[in-house]
């Protein structure tokens, strides 16, 4: 019996390899302006491996 359902997510440890291009949106820019959250940002790195 399966007790665990794992949701598909980007592996953060793997993102070490091709991450860090800096193209993604600056945090809080364009919407909230009063708090910092980076979770809602899109990755804009065309070369990244998900």
């Amino acid at each position: 019996m399966t007790h665990i359902k794992t949701i598909k997510t980007r592996n953060l440890c793997s993102s070490v390899k091709k991450g860090g291009c800096g193209e993604c949106q600056t945090s809080c820019q364009s919407a909230c302006k009063t708090s910092c959250g980076i979770a809602n940002q899109k990755c804009e790195n065309k070369a990244q491996s998900k």
Binding site: V16, G22, T26, C28, A39, C43
Partner: protein, 458 residues
């Protein structure tokens, strides 16, 4: 590190460092809770006693599944990211990719809760000239290195009070972006008072995003968002916002509200926004000095937490009914969100993002404008106050002791430097109320993302 919680009928286990999200049954949930604290034998004995109707073999099987996840790096993954904390900012040091242009330090509303002190930022009223704005755009291009996407916010005060300059700046940016291999993304943040057909047409062509300030219920909105005669602005702006959004097509917008001590039950305001036909929503806790009447109190917190949970339920319900809506702080892309460098680097204020005053001074972000000791320099001579910039450069999630044990650290990136400064006097401090609200929002966001993923699979 893991974070486990129950919400929306799900048992959720977040593996903080791998980013993995697991939905588990009660047996797995309890085993995971004990997994790193006790021996296998002790855990199996305890779980067998609690779930006596389940066979021991099945419980052992569940234990082994958890162990497999751990061995596969999807549970209890260690934090190996600290050495990379300064890497992204060092790599991109000197690169600026986003500016908040304060085109008008003046406003046609007189909102008591305004962090910008009615648009003046504790200074004189002023508007940005075209020449200053043009120089700011040139400064951005000159300092953007290889970054292609450049973000520019037209902010204030009320930017529509300097609309001709906004339009000219957009035209200027469009005329030079191809030559420099750049792509400008503009945002307009407005209170709506001066919106007309021409503003709508231009913005819907040129602005990647528009942020429209509306607090929700008329009586709530009109309590703070008043003109200089004390008259509420709701009746005037709502029809304009409706028209703006109707004509916007698929382009981004946010109806952005602020909630205060007057409306910790802000879900009622969100419902009003929905009833008006808006579907892209953002509702923010007020930012104010400690002790001000609009400040959210300790007693407000349980109400706010409940609102966040009810909001998540409402989103699930409406999605099932085919009437989905977006809440800015619940947007989370589990499959393609930011990489680890971004997650540990902090927000970018003072380094890749700066605010520009009407006369061309640079500040780390819009929330520092007017605080002279945080002036970084100006668009003519560049950043001259290296001490302040270095403070922001070294600001990352591992700089804050309190963040080291926090499960949400890779979602907030250490939080807002301005909120930290205003609540603790230090940009590397921690704004505790803000953290509590953020964590609740992330719990809801992850639950919604998981629920949606399950829906899609089915």
């Amino acid at each position: 590190m893991i974070h486990q919680y129950k919400l929306g009928g799900f048992n959720i286990v977040l593996d903080v460092c791998s980013g993995a999200v697991h939905l588990v049954d009660d047996i797995a949930y309890d085993i995971i809770e004990l997994f790193e604290k006790e021996t296998k034998e002790s855990i199996i004995n305890k779980i067998c006693a609690k779930y006596f109707k389940t066979s021991q073999d099945e419980i052992i099987e569940c234990y082994d599944q958890i162990n497999e996840l751990k061995n596969g790096g999807n549970l209890f993954a260690p934090d190996t990211f600290e050495p990379m904390a300064g890497v992204l900012k060092e790599k991109t040091a000197g690169v600026v990719k986003a500016l908040c242009l304060h085109v008008a330090h003046t406003c046609n509303l007189n909102c008591e809760y305004c962090f910008a002190s009615q648009g003046k930022y504790n200074g004189e009223r002023a508007v940005m000239s075209f020449e200053t704005g043009k120089r700011a755009l040139d400064f951005l291009i000159e300092n953007s290195g290889t970054r292609k996407n450049l973000e520019v916010d037209f902010f204030g005060g009320e930017p529509l009070m300097n609309w001709d300059v906004v339009k000219k700046l957009v035209e200027y940016a469009r005329s030079i972006e191809k030559k420099h291999n750049k792509n400008f993304r503009f945002t307009l943040t407005t209170n709506g008072m001066l919106i007309d057909d021409e503003v709508i047409e231009f913005s819907n062509k040129e602005m990647s995003n528009v942020v429209l300030s509306l607090d929700g219920r008329k009586e709530i909105h009109d309590a703070y968002r008043v003109d200089y005669n004390g008259k509420g602005s709701w009746d005037k702006i709502v029809p304009k916002f409706k028209e703006f959004v109707k004509k916007r097509g698929n382009k981004d917008y946010y109806i952005r509200g602020t909630f205060t001590h007057a409306n910790p039950d802000f879900l009622e305001d969100i419902k009003v926004m929905l009833d008006l036909g808006f579907t892209e929503l953002s509702m923010e806790p007020v930012v104010c000095a400690p002790g001000e009447k609009q400040e959210l109190t300790k007693d407000d917190m349980p109400i706010v937490f409940e609102q966040y949970e009810k909001l998540a339920s409402l989103m699930l319900e409406r999605k099932k009914e085919g009437r989905p809506f977006t809440f800015y702080h619940y947007m989370i892309d589990l499959k393609g969100g930011p990489c680890i460098y971004k997650r540990i680097s902090g927000c970018g204020s003072g380094t890749e993002y700066m605010a520009v005053t009407p006369w061309g001074d640079l500040y780390p972000c819009h929330q520092f404008v007017g605080d002279e000791k945080y002036k970084l320099g100006d668009i003519f001579s560049g950043v001259t106050n290296k001490d302040v910039q270095n403070e922001f450069l070294s600001c990352n999630v591992y700089e804050r002791q309190e963040c080291k044990d926090c499960w949400a650290r890779l979602y907030c990136s250490g939080g807002c430097a301005a909120n930290a400064y205003h609540s603790t006097g230090n940009i590397k401090g921690v704004y505790k109320y803000g953290c509590e609200l953020f964590k609740k929002r992330m719990e809801c966001a992850i639950m919604l993302a998981a629920a949606n993923e399950l829906d899609e699979e089915e």
